[in-house]
Subunit: 237 residues, 2 copies
DNA sequence: CGCGTTCTTGACTGCTTTCAAAGATGGTGG
DNA sequence: CCACCATCTTTGAAAGCAGTCAAGAACGCG
């Protein structure tokens, strides 16, 4: 029916969170316990619905997902990507409602994110993860508002590269990218036809390859120059 | 040099926050004390710079501002609007850095937002304000990604109408809108020329008037139908 | 009243979409 | 192991929305 998750590759949510803030033994323990109960969602299925009460946040253990909004005439906009190892739906208010729906792009497995105790490392890591998420939203806005199709794709791939590197060390210029051109179009505010043509242009220019569910960055330097890319930083060292 | 703030109209940050969560007497007191020390920023001047450490969050007391990102070739994207009465830059992590710069669109006055005590009504109000902010970001993404110029303007004006109504009761179909067409273009991912032509179309179609720094919504019903507008809700009643 | 900023307008270009259909690809069942 | 089917990718031609460039009109402030 649809492509499966990419080759099972080690995602380490604990490593990502531990990078964002130091975690103590109890917290690491809670994280690994939480991963005991896994939930699976098949590709194209909803993870949660817009407007529904949010009872907990999740850790995405494997597979790709997204937040999306669908217009009544069928237009779809993917608002943000949710990559393996990342958090979904951290909220600090009481009785929150989901601001957007979330959908699995590939088969996905997730678990509840352990509740942080105030002032702990985990709470800090969640806060920084939330700040990163916000950073990615701003970047998505700049991408959609002021970049050409060519630039949008380049910029997105650099962002994904960086985000994936946070959970899977060793990932450099080759990494899984299990989105169809149509999903990519919905994310970048384009049509799938134009995405297809633009990918050909990027390929022709020797910047990158994208096929069979994974990307190969061929010329990182020219790519970063193209979009003035800087790595995301949300807190002081 | 540039248009001033709109006619001084009563903005009530305390009213907005109190709507988001019940505040006790101490908190209301802290809010009104905070407004004692006001800072002013002239139109077009920076409120804070991207990447700088954030020492406090602010309450925008009057005037309009925005978060924006500027490309090296001069392209500018306004990422989000900051309207009078709203909060700027709530962060929960320690030692955060500003994810974007903020600039005054009109002359602006602001004050430090009082620090909330954990679990208090103020903390909850801040959290909900943050959730609303996120909601607006998602909406901005959907706007830029999948709406025509005509729809983008309609959708934005409905959002601003709703946001302004939260701080200035009585605001209905007439409200200040002190943005130049060029700023509007930078917010909506268009050119000022096209914004101009699209505004004429909206005027011609009897949907709204926008001139002299304020908007007059003429046909709210058709406008909301046009963009499937629903009011923002981020928590259960 | 004069100047700078903002708003309008026109003609032309072009990036992106639309519509349609033909190729690839991958999984499934016979 | 291969045929079959659904999904995804690729291509072509034509149309359209939005951008560019340039210049004149209107507006607001000092």
């Amino acid at each position: 029916m649809s492509r499966q998750s990419p080759a099972p590759f080690e995602t380490r949510p604990a490593a990502r969170l531990g990078q964002l803030a130091p975690l103590d033994a109890d917290e690491l323990q809670a994280l690994s316990e939480a991963q005991g109960k896994r939930y699976r969602v098949a590709a194209h299925h909803e993870i949660f619905e817009e407007g529904r009460p949010v009872d907990s946040s999740f850790l995405l253990l494997s597979g790709w997902a997204c937040r999306s909004r669908i217009f009544s005439d069928g237009r779809r906009q993917i608002l943000s990507l949710l990559l393996p190892g990342e958090l979904i739906g951290i909220c600090r208010q009481t009785r929150p409602l989901a601001a957007t729906g979330a959908v699995a792009l590939t088969d996905v497995s997730l678990c509840h994110a352990p509740a942080p105790c105030d002032k702990g490392g985990l709470a800090e890591a969640y806060a920084r993860s939330g700040a990163l998420e916000e950073f990615y939203l701003f970047r998505q806005i700049a991408r959609l508002g002021r970049m050409s199709a060519y630039e949008r794709i380049a910029d997105l791939l650099l962002e994904v590269r960086e985000r994936i590197a946070m959970v899977a060390l060793g990932v450099e210029d080759n990494f899984p990218f299990p989105m169809t051109q149509e999903a990519l179009a919905d994310l970048l505010g384009l049509t799938s036809v134009h995405v297809n043509r633009t990918l050909q242009a990027l390929r022709r220019d020797g910047l990158l390859e994208l096929r069979g569910g994974s990307v190969h960055i061929l010329d990182l330097r020219r790519l970063t120059d193209l979009v003035e890319h800087r790595d995301a930083i949300v807190c002081e060292a």
